[in-house]
């Protein structure tokens, strides 16, 4: 029996390699066709002056990158994207942590709140963006009506240079906070209870000092992880901006992906859009690499 088993396993080893190649081949081919090839193509295109629909093009070296550097709209777009990322990160992580801490200490109703705060995460952001537009309506929007009732001054939020980006940030935080809350709750649940019991014995008062000395340090890896996740998502902000402001008024809410979309698919300046895409991808990869350097060994995924 043992002998036969060994023979059949040995015979099998020849086949195993073939099976391995065969089973992974479709995915491998698609990876070349849909990911690695396109990245290489984007890089090549970024060195040309090609416009979609044109028959010929010429190699222009780094001219597209030069035009980007000399284009104030590109800088405005990069600046707005950074502001958006910073604000949404701070807001949604702060709110997510606060909610997680509160909910984690409840003796009943945890699931109820978790569900409510998670609703914005999974609802269609596009449909909810249209609802937000109505909420922000200058005359008949609930937000202005509530403001007026409370004695504040109503505003045309999305048409106001000083407020358009802020309004988009609020929607971003609203959309993202529940997601971070869930990850924080998972992180809190993983903190061993005996640490708090030990703190009881040592006389560490409940509240902030316990948070500072036990909860926060142990949440560290999870927090770093959430920071990176949120940053990458915020970098990709597009839906809300495209629907609500188109980057206006006067580029006050222009963001990177919107610039790429306009250049590539509205003006069809393919070469230039490709160069901007390379910038965008570099930023995203930079964040991911930083994450791998700091996190790979500290965070347990499962």
């Amino acid at each position: 029996m043992n002998f036969h088993r060994r023979i059949s396993i040995a015979r099998y080893r020849y086949g195993e390699q073939l099976w391995g190649i065969g089973l992974s081949a479709p995915a491998f081919i698609l990876m070349i066709l849909l990911m690695l090839g396109p990245i290489a193509l984007t890089m090549l295109l970024s060195l040309t002056d090609w416009q979609l629909g044109m028959g010929n093009f010429s190699w222009i070296g780094l001219k597209n990158y030069e035009s980007a550097v000399n284009d104030p709209i590109f800088w405005k777009s990069l600046f707005n994207t950074s502001v958006y990322v910073a604000v949404v990160m701070t807001g949604s992580i702060g709110l997510g942590l606060l909610l997680a801490l509160m909910i984690n200490q409840l003796s009943f109703g945890k699931g109820f709140y978790r569900t409510l705060f998670f609703l914005p995460v999974m609802a269609s952001l596009v449909a909810m963006t249209i609802v937000w537009e109505f909420l922000l309506h200058p005359e008949f929007g609930l937000i202005n009506q509530l403001l007026t009732a409370l004695g504040g001054t109503p505003n045309n939020w999305l048409r106001d240079e000083d407020w358009a980006l802020a309004a988009l940030c609020v929607i971003g935080i609203w959309h993202q906070a529940g997601f971070n809350m869930v990850l924080f709750i998972a992180g809190l649940t993983a903190i061993p209870k005996f640490l708090y019991e030990a703190a009881d014995i040592d006389g560490v008062p409940p509240g902030f000092s316990r948070f500072r000395h036990i909860t926060w340090p142990l949440l560290g890896p999870v927090t770093l992880f959430i920071v990176v996740m949120t940053a990458i998502k915020a970098f990709q902000v597009f839906d809300t901006v495209q629907i609500l402001t188109q980057g206006g008024p006067s580029y006050s809410s222009e963001v990177l992906l919107l610039t790429i979309y306009k250049e590539g698919f509205e003006y069809f300046r393919t070469g230039y859009a490709a160069a901007l895409t390379v910038v965008f991808l570099t930023l995203v990869i930079l964040v991911t690499v930083v994450k791998s350097l700091f996190l790979e060994k500290k965070v347990k995924y499962t």
């Binding site: 088993r5 059949s8 396993i9 099998y12 195993e16 390699q17 099976w19 391995g20 190649i21 089973l23 992974s24 995915a27 491998f28 698609l30 990876m31 849909l34 990911m35 690695l36 396109p38 990245i39 193509l41 984007t42 979609l52 509160m102 200490q105 409840l106 709140y113 978790r114 705060f117 998670f118 609703l119 999974m122 609802a123 269609s124 952001l125 596009v126 449909a127 909810m128 249209i130 609802v131 537009e133 109505f134 909420l135 005359e139 009732a149 906070a177 997601f179 990850l183 992880f225 990709q236 597009f238 495209q242 629907i243 992906l257 590539g264 698919f265 895409t277 991808l281 995203v284 995924y301």
Partner: protein, 281 residues
């Protein structure tokens, strides 16, 4: 009285937390409440200078009828369903065998393949949108279901996630199946898949939500309204009625949000797990 006081003292922070959370929850859920309430109201109550929480006169049927007849919303929902299901099936067909090979078989190029998967994990779809568009343009299938489906047949995230899960399946189980004379296809179908249902469901939920809610890609490849997905449809409706018919617009938004919302409320734990697995990306 002597017994009441400690109880009160114990419950006081809890009550405070509930009060705070209820208030915050009311703010967070307000867009949903306002959407649904507005979809019940007639125009004169919507375009009013005072806040009417509940409709005085119910215009529910009129609003929803207009949402469904002034647009092809039902068709768009059908398109959305078709695209989401097709993408999911193709993603499973491509990523399950690949993930199995990476997890359980040794073959030349396995390491290189895995490095490729890790590298591709970093690439967001928007970064390859231009070449995808060109490929579809030159094949001549822009403006079709294929344009919505084909670019997403590969999910490197799916391969990565499933590989991690498949590694945990005991080798003995697979060897035993081989001893029974099963080939690798049979092993995947009757040993690996049945033992990985939670991971498959998590990934499925993640994929369905991502593509039902996607806006960037359909916006780029579609002109023809026949292929519109729900997100494009609702934005198109909003552009067409340009602020004159919020009742019907909110009804349309409700219809688009509702399917996933109901599914979420029915299977919350799975959904939260499914979406949080995206955190591994």
């Amino acid at each position: 009285m002597g017994r009441l006081q400690p109880t009160l003292k114990r419950w006081y922070p809890e009550l405070l937390r509930h009060a705070f959370l209820i208030m915050l929850a009311a703010v967070m859920v307000m867009p949903f409440i306002w959407m649904v309430l507005t979809s019940f109201k007639p125009a004169n109550e919507i375009f009013s200078n005072e806040i009417n929480w509940l409709p005085g006169h119910w215009a529910l049927i009129e609003n929803y009828t207009r949402a469904l007849t002034n647009t092809s919303l039902i068709r768009y929902m059908g398109n959305g369903l078709l695209v989401v299901v097709a993408i999911l099936i193709l993603q499973f067909l491509v990523s399950i065998p690949a993930a199995y090979a990476l997890a359980k078989l040794s073959f030349p190029g396995r390491f290189a393949m895995f490095i490729c998967v890790l590298a591709c994990l970093m690439i967001p779809a928007q970064a390859v949108a231009i070449p995808w568009y060109l490929q579809l343009h030159y094949v001549g299938i822009l403006d079709s279901y294929w344009a919505l489906i084909l670019p997403f047949t590969l999910s490197v995230f799916g391969i990565f996630l499933l590989r991690q899960f498949f590694i945990g399946i005991p080798d003995d189980l697979i060897d035993a199946a081989r001893m029974d004379g099963m080939n690798e296809f049979r092993i995947i179908w009757s040993v690996v898949v049945p033992n990985s249902i939670p991971a498959l469901i998590s990934f499925g939920i993640f994929s369905v939500i991502a593509h039902w809610n996607d806006y960037f890609w359909p916006l780029i490849v579609l002109n023809d309204q026949d292929y519109y997905t729900p997100t494009l449809g609702v934005v198109d409706f909003r552009n067409a009625e340009s602020g004159s018919d919020y009742g019907a617009l909110m009804a349309a938004a409700t219809i688009v949000v509702l399917p996933l919302l109901v599914a979420f409320l029915l299977a919350q734990r799975r959904f939260i797990e499914g979406i949080s697995t995206a955190g591994m990306k």
